[in-house]
């Protein structure tokens, strides 16, 4: 019985991220539209889009290989697993021992690898340029992300997300400038990885500057639906990671009774909706930067996270 409850809690988390992912896209698009003084589509529009795309015919290029057809599912699967592993409303779920921060970074990198291959598969110019730019961004963002992981792991003494969150909830780490720097670097990396505005414009089509959209330009039908869903899941994953690492309050730590779970769910929803509102506000305040500025943008994230690691070494007595 206890095992069934534990499995149920884990299954709830897996379905929760699946259900919330399009909502995050919807909220941020709506807020963005309102900030630009447009009405914007309704908040649930991404659900309708995915539903519509799932029922449309998938058009394939003549020279598309099996890689082109399987890549969207691989991307979706890795992103879903990664998103379901990040603690959302509770820690110490059944599979939380697998929720290693480095494993999550690796899962996301696998998905990106598949998508970049698929972008080059058909052999169009846009797909190739998108894939090469995506790889450039990844090669700059991943060192920064790994340094963020190291700095957080040095403070917590573990790379397991559940253990980190429980340590940070109890507030025994004190006041750390390293955590602030790591959060700063993490937000920069998250913006770059999710193709948001200073780096890439998620609402663009047929522009020379697009990155993510250029890779998926050839996709249609159910493949496109799955890719869009994965993009939403990735955004939600970064939101949950931010909430779990830097504001882990309100999560269920001990017994999973109904009250605790409801409180955990409510605080989690509040946190991610707040982030989904803040993201478009930040996006509206800045202009998209040139491709040649990316190394400086992500380099500052790298510098901040490296500084965070260095500061930890100073305050540690050898």
């Amino acid at each position: 019985m206890a095992l069934a409850l534990e499995l149920g809690a884990q299954a709830l988390q897996m379905l929760l991220v699946l259900a919330l992912a399009p909502l995050m896209l919807g909220i941020s698009r709506k807020i963005k539209a309102r900030l630009l003084r447009r009405m914007g589509p309704p908040t649930w529009q991404p659900y309708l889009d995915i539903w519509k795309l799932l029922h449309k015919e998938a058009v394939l290029a003549h020279n598309a290989s099996w890689l082109y057809r399987t890549a969207p599912y691989l991307l979706f699967a890795t992103t879903w697993v990664a998103a379901a592993l990040v603690p959302t409303y509770a820690i110490n779920l059944t599979f939380s021992w697998t929720a290693d921060l480095i494993a999550i970074v690796a899962l996301l990198a696998t998905g990106r690898f598949a998508l970049a291959l698929a972008g080059m598969d058909v052999g169009t110019a846009f797909g190739g340029i998108g894939a090469s730019r995506e790889m450039m961004i990844a090669s700059l963002a991943e060192p920064a992300m790994l340094l963020v992981v190291f700095s957080v792991a040095l403070i917590a003494g573990t790379t397991q997300l559940s253990a980190m969150a429980s340590l940070f909830i109890h507030g025994s780490v004190g006041l750390r400038v390293s955590l602030g720097l790591a959060m700063f670097a993490f937000i920069f990396v998250a913006i770059a990885e999710n193709a948001r505005i200073p780096v890439d414009n998620p609402a663009t089509h047929l522009e020379l500057t697009m990155v993510h959209e250029a890779m998926v330009l050839e996709y249609s039908g159910r493949h496109l639906a799955v890719i869009e869903f994965a993009a939403g899941l990735k955004l939600l994953l970064y939101f949950s990671l931010l909430a779990c690492l830097f504001v882990p309050f309100g999560m269920v730590t001990g017994d999973k009774n109904l009250d605790a779970v409801l409180t955990g769910l409510m605080t989690y929803l509040g946190k991610i909706i707040l982030l989904a509102v803040l993201l478009p506000i930040g996006e509206t305040c800045v202009a998209k930067m040139r491709v040649f500025r990316y190394p400086i943008f992500l380099g500052s994230a790298f510098a901040a996270s490296a500084l965070a690691v260095f500061l930890l070494f100073v305050s540690r007595s050898f």
């Binding site: 025994s172 790298f302 260095f310």
Partner: protein, 223 residues
């Protein structure tokens, strides 16, 4: 180890170091001036906190001097000068922001590696303050050598001086610290007058110090 006194000192000194990196990253003069003012405010908070935990009220004077002079007076004066010189344009740097920051990270690592073995038998707080101060000093030097513009070179010098004050206050029982701080402030006023010298040199139509090299007949490699 996790007492609040240490944590707050760590936070303030660490944010000073982070602001040094922001200074290196910025390439607009007005933004550089604003970040410098922020760093001075962080310095004065840090010194005030040292005054509180070391129970040394004379450090408060240093904090007030840092806050008023470097947090408000000098940035405002420099803003006016910049506006009068009409140089709201981009700063040209010797090397780009990316390599500069990598080099700066190397300098931070160097200063930490230097201070950690030296200060084995002093308190953790003093050792850490020394490491941060040395890093801020080195980053200020780096900023001075990577910029062509006279105003940002002065900012680099003053952020270096922020590091010196941080080092002086981090060491316990430094009675002459007020005098040292005042002396450095006078020095800064002197540097500010240096800008007027550059204003006189407006016949070059620039405050790019590269023009001086050309005037003296020294050739600089055109990058």
């Amino acid at each position: 180890m996790h007492n609040i006194g240490f944590d707050v000192a760590h936070l303030l000194a660490g944010s000073m170091l982070a602001l040094s990196f922001v200074l290196l990253y910025q390439d607009r003069i007005t933004a550089v001036l604003n970040v410098f003012a922020l760093q001075a405010i962080a310095l004065s908070l840090s010194v005030a906190w040292q005054a509180y935990i070391q129970e040394a009220p004379h450090l408060l004077i240093t904090a007030v001097i840092a806050l008023v002079l470097k947090g408000f007076v000098i940035p405002t004066a420099l803003h006016r000068i910049v506006r009068r010189l009409g140089i709201h344009r981009q700063i040209d740097e010797v090397i780009g922001a990316g390599p500069t920051m990598l080099f700066g990270l190397g300098l931070v690592a160097l200063s930490i590696l230097l201070v950690l073995p030296v200060g084995q038998n002093v308190s953790l707080l003093a050792r850490e303050d020394l490491a941060f101060a040395l890093a801020v000093i080195l980053l200020g030097l780096l900023m001075m050598i990577t910029r062509y513009n006279a105003v940002t070179q002065i900012i680099g010098f003053m952020s270096l001086e922020n590091g010196l004050v941080l080092a002086a206050t981090g060491a316990k029982g430094m009675p002459l610290v007020v005098e040292i701080s005042v002396a450095f402030s006078v020095l800064i006023a002197f540097i500010v007058f240096g800008i007027f010298v550059f204003r006189i040199r407006e016949r070059f139509d620039t405050v790019d110090v590269g023009a001086l090299d050309q005037f003296r007949g020294e050739r600089r490699d055109q990058t």
